[in-house]
Amino acid sequence: MKLRVAEEPGEREVELLAREGTHLRARIDGREVSAEFDALAPGGVVTLSIDGRRFRIASARRKDTILVAVGPRTFSFIREEEGSRRRARGLAAAEITAPMPGKVLRILVTEGDAVVAGQALVVLEAMKMETALAAESEAVVKRVLVAPGQMVDHGARLIELSPPTANPSARESGPPGS
């Protein structure tokens, strides 16, 4: 099964191979991993032991997302097979969306601009703080979908990106100030 970590580039692949009693074998990104699980730990907490370390696990499914807590760390996975989002080739993300509801304060780019990974594109105000949203990879600004002052909801599309132009000089220019 192919899983994407929400808001992270790249894919992970995990396959459950076998389970005998409380023993479990899985293949993760080509490596074989064995684990012991305990479904009836005190308090109903499930534990997984890997490499002699015992992790407390909680998990839940919400729509296409699988939520997992390993100790205090939480993960949010999206099944790639479910094809929740098609991804443009060469782009970490084809669009910039609002990570929370808020107000668009400033748009820092215009359509047609070539941007580099980490470059701030739009500034949102939410929870009384300014948050700059940046490109995750090199790209070209295809469309700007919002205007300063506009209120946006969680997940609202703010900017559409297209893959970077195959111009080698743009690639070599690097992020500003580097």
Binding site: A26, A60, V68, K128
Partner: protein, 497 residues
């Protein structure tokens, strides 16, 4: 016999602090009134109080910051006192004055004290007059005067909001070219957050510690200090990990800071609980500001001094005399868990709490308003809970904190628990190398990738993906978010295979 009796207390706040205040009031036999915005109608603080009153729409400016709406709720409920908590209206002189004029006890300093200390410029001047050291600074912020000051004092500089707090309206200026833009951005942010866009400039200390002194005063003029707290670990100038005592601080400096705090409090005719904050550079300390309210991190002082600061606040408000604090014991550490994504610049997160596992054990306290099903929106501060651990010494408190974090799980809302665990586990924290730069420095170390932990997450996800989901059958929300681990039948089936 107290001078005045509080019989019914309205808590003009929400979240964990509203619940914290309600708990103490209940112990003291005081009835409680919660207030709530439309976004909070089903929040835990509403259920915790004896009664609750709506005060308006979700937007804080129209509810929790709306003095008229809150005073209306005070009147309607027949409350005889109001506790402001922290944040929101807690440091607003107009709110204290509105309560005073209505004959309602305000659990905090009088309006005139709030007005003087709440203005950071006036507070600085008062501190200087009380011979409390202050960081070199500039009040006027015309671009030319600011540039002259920068040339005289040197960079970097810090822009701060006169009405500020919680890091809002604050900017570090690293270059002269960035000065004007920083002044404007800070002023804009301060105006949005406090309705007051005045800002001022200070020398920026490169790697200071933030250490503060808890004070408590009564209306008879007596003042006591309840030790210090080190709150150096901050992101965006907002505290995230605090501890008491401040590790490595010399007794001489500690005593000098306590003296300075009491001198300033006396000069301000301070009443009720408050905190005098300092920046500390080596053994040199500078006055930062006075927080004229209960602090978020007050529990670590409560634990060391064996007291209940909300109870002390209520007693001071009823005209009782302050008592000399006992001898502090052991060490206490607090970690603030926020709805934020630590891997993406601590950007705010929202969501629904699908599952919640709360730690317990000796020396472990978790102050929270979270329950499974709670919605965390973008309207208010993203504090989800405070994990407070204590022990006979720092290492015991730290060990308990790490163990408690392993028991904590907040599923459904991206949060900083794992980041805090890693910070407390770090070698830098273990040797108490604390400064306000701690988080930047921690992130500059190569990030440790924990493969076993990530493997465990992937296996758990694969198992969860296999478990039956009933969403398709009845479409109910409860079923859609049901934990597959609860489906023990699934495990039974495997065993029979």
């Amino acid at each position: 016999m107290p001078k005045r009796q509080i019989r019914k207390l309205l808590i003009a706040n929400r979240g964990e602090i509203a619940i914290r205040v309600i708990r103490t009031a209940r112990v003291m036999g005081i009835r409680t009134v919660a207030v709530y915005s439309e976004a909070d109608a089903r929040s835990a603080h509403v259920a915790a109080a004896d009664e609750a009153r709506p005060i308006g729409p979700a937007e804080a400016a129209k509810s929790y910051l709306n003095i008229d709406a809150i005073m209306g709720a005070v009147r309607d409920s027949g409350a005889d006192a109001v506790h402001p908590g922290y944040g929101f209206l807690s440091e607003r002189a107009e709110f204290a004055q509105a309560a005073e004029e209505a004959g309602i006890i305000f659990v905090g300093p009088p309006g005139k004290v709030l007005a003087q200390l709440g203005d950071k410029i006036a507070a600085r001047n008062l501190a200087a007059a009380a011979r409390v050291p202050v960081v070199p600074g500039l009040e006027a912020i015309e671009p030319s005067a600011a540039r002259d000051f920068a040339a005289r004092i040197g960079l970097p500089l810090l822009v701060k909001a006169a009405a500020g707090g919680g890091g809002r309206g604050m900017r570090v200026v690293e270059s002269l070219e960035g000065l004007e833009a920083a002044l404007q951005a800070a002023s804009r942010e301060a105006n949005a957050a406090f309705g007051d866009g005045r800002v001022f400039l200070e020398r920026y200390l490169a790697r200071p510690r933030h250490i503060e002194v808890q004070i408590l005063g009564d209306e008879h003029g007596d003042l006591v200090a309840l030790g210090e707290r080190d709150c150096s670990i901050q992101r965006r100038h907002q505290k995230v990990i605090e501890e008491s005592p401040a590790p490595g601080l010399s007794d001489t400096t500690r005593a000098a800071m306590v003296d300075a705090a009491l001198r300033l409090a006396r000069a301000a005719q301070y009443v009720n609980a408050g905190t005098v904050e300092f920046l500390v550079d080596g053994e040199q300390f500078y006055f930062l500001e006075v927080n004229t309210r209960l602090q978020v991190e007050h529990p670590i002082s409560e634990i060391r001094f064996g007291c209940d600061l909300v109870a002390e606040q209520l007693k001071m408000a009823m005209g009782q005399k302050v008592r000399a604090p006992g001898t502090p014991r052991g060490c206490a550490i607090e970690c603030r868990v926020y709805a934020e994504d630590a891997r993406h610049g601590f950007r705010p997160a929202t969501g629904t709490v699908v599952d919640l596992r709360v730690p317990a054990g000796p020396g472990v306290r978790f102050d929270t308003h979270l329950v499974a099903g709670a919605e965390i929106g973008a309207f208010y501060d993203g504090l989800l809970g405070k994990l407070i651990c204590s022990g006979a010494d720092r290492e015991q408190a730290r060990g308990r904190m790490l163990a408690a974090f392993d028991e904590l799980a907040i599923l459904g809302v991206t949060n900083t628990a794992a980041f805090l665990r890693d910070a407390v586990a770090s070698e830098r924290f273990a040797r108490a190398d604390l400064s306000t730069r701690f988080i930047d420095e921690l992130f500059s170390d190569p990030l440790r990738h924990d493969q076993a932990e990530s493997d465990a997450a992937l296996i758990a996800a694969a198992l969860a993906a296999q478990a039956p989901v009933r969403e398709a059958e009845n479409g109910s929300r409860a079923a859609a978010t049901r934990s597959p681990w609860a489906e023990l039948g699934g495990f039974e089936l495997w065993r029979r295979q």
